[in-house]
């Protein structure tokens, strides 16, 4: 298997290129839908961007893969990503970073960077990504495409290799809102195998009519760390929405202060448990069975997990430890509850929240070397995951030639409203 940049895949958008099957009928007939490499595909290697899953070929399809195959979608391959979704740039991939189609020296964003690059470069018309703390919206913003993180419980996670179960959702990515909405419609079919899923399929309603819609703009979305040029671009986009008949309401979201910490404690804790199964016994690189099992496990995990994954496993293990649980994991859940309360309070006043998806545009590959500055980039996207509400990123112009994303967040199970506002903006800008 050739990996890294190739003539076929100069952006390293894919980890595995698949053979495209003959055309089949359905609502996605003949449409290429790239699939992020943490979504299980029967018979096609699924690595999650990690060396520890090299050679793992799932014996089953994820529910969403079943659904898109049944609608005639063609899967061109499995897309590059930060290892197990842990990153915001796709630089943490075990198979080399993906490159931004707008500027190959820059990151795609992450962790669904390969999916975004594949769509933005035209290698696939649509893509499936996953979003734990912004992993669909961030690369959508950086690569200039549309991405939706659906309401928690709206898409089956069956077959999605878990990173942080209580936060993540699979979601659609595409060049246009209409394509993104179509893919969302296909993948939202109910699946009893995911106990956290609700039977509330997505019913698209793209009329672009947002007259009378109330859109809140929290001051914190334009706070410290947000590039003024990006802020300016997004404010202009919000005024477009106003021009289309929406009422803009200035508001506050004080829980933003704790959101990032609550997010990182929660996701690393869950990850430390989810990733325990990678021990070299059942799949992936085999552990040395001549050694005592605990030594053999340690060896496999040391050798084949990347540094960011090891760091997050350590943080999460610590956060759940006896004596620290209350101080970290317990407290994070309280903070998470505050975020939920903030949203429900705000959503009594407004129908949507708007702001930038990312505080900056795509940075250069290798530019951010310390993990903390990378974590800070997630500040605007993680609140939606903590609360389980839907949020989309729609392209709203560029800053120095690099795309900027407008983030629209809605009430739980109002993904339709979020997408309709995104559609209104998209059409409004075109007009």
């Amino acid at each position: 298997m050739v990996r890294g940049e190739t003539q076929q895949d100069p952006l390293n958008a894919f980890i595995t290129l698949a053979e495209i099957p003959p055309r089949a009928p359905g609502r996605l007939s003949g449409i290429t839908v790239a699939v992020k490499d943490n979504i299980s595909t029967r018979g096609v290697e699924t690595t999650c961007g990690s060396r520890i899953l090299s050679g793992y070929v799932p014996p089953y399809d994820a529910h969403v893969v079943d659904l898109i195959r049944n609608e005639g979608a063609l899967i061109p391959g499995k897309t590059n990503m930060d290892e197990f979704g842990m990153g915001s740039s796709t630089e943490n991939s075990g198979f080399g970073p993906a490159r931004n189609p707008r500027d190959p020296e820059r990151v795609t964003g992450g962790s669904s960077g390969g999916s975004a690059a594949a769509v933005a470069s035209g290698m696939a018309r649509m893509a499936l990504g996953t979003d734990t703390g912004g992993s669909i919206r961030c690369p959508a913003a950086f690569c200039g495409i549309v991405g939706l993180k659906p309401t928690y419980g709206r898409i089956s996670r069956y077959g999605l290799v878990a990173y942080a179960n209580s936060l993540e959702q699979i979601g659609p990515m595409a060049l246009s809102v209409a394509d993104c909405s179509l893919l969302m419609e296909v993948i939202s079919r109910f699946d009893a195998r995911d106990a956290t899923m609700q039977d509330r399929p997505y019913l698209p309603r793209l009329d672009g009519d947002i007259r009378g819609m109330r859109i809140g703009v929290p001051a914190e979305f334009f706070g410290e760390g947000v590039d003024p040029a990006v802020a300016d671009r997004v404010r202009k986009a919000i005024s477009v929405l106003e021009g289309l008949g929406a009422a803009i309401v200035e508001c506050a979201m004080p829980s933003m202060e704790y959101a990032l910490a609550a997010y990182y404690v929660t996701c690393t804790s869950e990850a430390s448990s989810n990733l325990a199964r990678f021990d070299g016994v059942r799949y992936g690189p085999a552990s040395d069975y001549k050694k005592p099992w605990h030594e053999a496990f340690q060896e496999v995990r040391m050798q084949h997990f990347g540094p960011e994954v090891r760091r997050r496993i350590l943080i999460g293990t610590f956060a759940l430890s006896a004596g620290y649980y209350g101080k970290y994991y317990g407290k994070a859940q309280v903070a998470r509850e505050h975020v939920r309360e903030d949203y429900s309070r705000l959503f009594q006043e407004v129908d949507l929240l708007a702001g930038p998806t990312m505080p900056t545009v795509a940075w250069k590959i290798g530019e951010k070397s310390d993990p903390l500055s990378m974590y800070l980039a997630d500040i605007l996207t993680v609140p939606a995951n903590l609360a389980g509400v839907p949020a989309a990123s729609v392209p709203c112009g560029t800053v120095q030639g690099l795309p900027v994303g407008l983030q629209l967040t809605g009430r739980a199970f109002e993904d339709e409203l979020v997408m309709n506002a995104a559609y209104a903006y998209e059409q409004g800008v075109k007009a």
Binding site: N38, I39, S40, T46, C48, L53, Y56, P58, P59, Y60, A62, R157, Y158, G159, L160, V161, A162, N165, S166, A192, R193, D194, A195, T196, S269, E270, S272, S273, L275, A276, R277, F278, D279, V281, R282, Y283, Y289, K290, W293, H294, F297, T317, L320, S321, A322, Y325, Y329
Partner: protein, 501 residues
């Protein structure tokens, strides 16, 4: 009754009323025992997937799927039947069922664990605060149940090589995901015998509920907490049989007393029971430092169990059946206790009771049959009820003596054991000439033959031994082979004695 929950062994335990136990028994310190009992629930499919639980006779790793193998991306789906079974147990053990129970992850590494964690319940179990009445060392005793929860069974390791020279281990995941119920008792038990009785009581109750099959290998596993009052508590893990519990606890009491006698302190530790040698050995201290990092299982929703349990009806339980047996059939409380102590025995008795004499049936099932079964290490399930009923019928009608009936029963059971078709008691009696009239019948035929075969009789009396064989053959012909040739030879000899004719 209200009970304090979560009491530590070794602290002052309030004695159950009427147990009459003092701190010192027979000059020895009080032994304090609490049990954690794990039973496999006999649902058709596993706890979180659709795989069949009927794996014991199948090759390794044939009852598996992405979920019970813990493959990346798999998710647990709740088996509602398992929850119902566990709620039945909670209700039968008089527990308070929680409004909402919640699954949690218990994180630890082990090769038999597919996900690196076990899905269990931690601080929000299904039910708490129940009890089970057992026969105590003194009077009847109430053992308090601390909590009941559901969890998944891990896989099974098969070690290759010898215990001294282990080579490698193979893993069989057929067992992975089998539903387990964990029942934790308060430290209310005072002797290994009481512990054994509690287990028997639990087994009987669970079998009456139809949620457990105690005959299945590995269906029961027990961890015991044991201390001698005033000393540290020791946890003994890895006990997997009813007899093992008594053995492990007896060994451990002797060991701890020995330590104390030598003026040393009993260390708080975890020990493993080695069934083959009947001893407990200290587990490596590392294992005691386990921090399981429990947290709520994010892939499952909390279970609304209080409401659920209200709709669940209990079948008749052992205590109720004992009372009914004494009232309905007029049998003794002792017989009722024996019969109801095992579900299949109680059911077998009820099939026999209509024979007309329930007292006779009770004696024959509870004493005679039980004794013969124990001697043969045989299960009651193997005994054909129809044949046993025929035998009881004959006893009722006095067509067979007690002594002969025991003989018939033994032959019936031997036929069962050999896997032969079990003959009717009448056939067995006739063939073995156990009946009151059978001998006479043959004697009549023998006399006929003697009267008709004068030549052979003369030859025999003249000392020609082979003539007897001819006569035996003639009788055999007329009895169509039902008679035992040896027995016939004896009767013939008697009849041919000069004074007999």
């Amino acid at each position: 009754m209200t009970v304090p929950i979560g009491m530590e062994a070794g602290s002052a335990v309030r004695e159950t009323a009427g147990s009459g136990l003092a701190a010192v028994e027979g000059g020895r310190e009080t032994v304090i025992i609490g049990l954690e009992v794990h039973c496999q629930l006999n649902t058709e499919s596993k706890l979180f997937c659709g795989c069949s639980t009927d794996y014991r006779s199948d090759p390794p790793n044939t009852h598996v799927c992405p979920t019970c193998l813990g493959l990346p991306g798999s998710l647990p789906a709740m088996n509602r039947r398992a929850v119902e079974y566990a709620l039945l147990v909670a209700k039968a053990l008089n527990c308070r069922v929680a409004d909402e129970a919640e699954f949690a992850r218990k994180n630890y590494f082990y090769p038999d664990l597919t996900k690196g964690f076990q899905i269990t319940m931690y601080n929000r179990p299904l039910a708490e605060g129940g009890y089970l009445d057992i026969e105590g060392d003194g009077a009847e005793k109430r053992v308090r149940i601390t909590r009941i929860h559901l969890e998944e069974d891990p896989g099974r390791l098969v070690h290759m090589g010898t215990p001294d020279r282990p080579r490698y281990s193979l893993v069989d995941y057929n067992r992975s995901g089998i539903p387990l119920i964990e029942i934790v008792t308060e430290p209310d038990l005072r002797s290994p015998k009481e512990a054994r009785r509690l287990l028997n009581g639990l087994r009987t109750t669970l079998e009456y509920l139809g949620v457990f099959d105690g005959d299945q290998e590995g269906s029961l596993r027990v961890d015991a907490n044991i201390s001698i009052r005033g000393s540290e508590r020791v946890e003994v893990k890895n006990i997997s049989s009813y007899r093992g519990v008594e053995k492990a606890l007896t060994y451990e009491i002797t060991r701890q007393r020995g330590v104390l006698r030598r003026g040393q302190k009993v260390e708080r530790e975890t020990r493993h029971f080695v069934e083959a040698r009947g001893v407990t050995t200290s587990a490596r201290s590392k294992e005691q430092e386990h921090d399981y990092r429990y947290f709520t299982e994010p892939d499952l929703r909390p279970l609304q169990v209080r409401h659920w349990v209200e709709g669940i009806a209990l079948p008749e339980l052992p205590a109720a059946r004992r009372e009914r047996f004494t009232a309905q059939y007029g049998i003794s409380p002792e017989h009722a206790r024996t019969l109801c102590g095992e579900l299949r025995l109680a059911e077998f008795f009820e099939q026999m009771a209509p024979c007309g004499n329930p007292l006779l049936a009770a004696t024959w099932v509870a004493d005679t049959l039980q004794g013969e079964l124990n001697y043969r290490e045989m299960e009651i399930g193997k005994v054909p009820p129809a044949r046993f009923r025929e035998l009881l019928g004959m006893l009722c009608r006095k067509e067979v003596t007690d002594k002969a009936a025991v003989e018939v029963l033994r032959r019936m059971l031997d036929q069962c054991l050999k896997g032969e078709e079990v003959q009717s008691p009448a056939q067995i009696m006739e063939k073995n000439m156990l009946g009151k009239t059978a001998g006479d019948t043959f004697t009549g035929i023998v006399r006929e033959v003697i009267a008709e075969c004068g030549d052979a009789v003369r030859d025999y009396r003249a000392g020609r031994g082979e003539a007897l064989n001819f006569l035996v053959g003639q009788v055999m012909k007329r009895t169509r082979g039902r008679a035992d040739p040896k027995e016939l030879t004896r009767i013939l000899r008697e009849e041919l004695e000069p004074q007999g004719t």
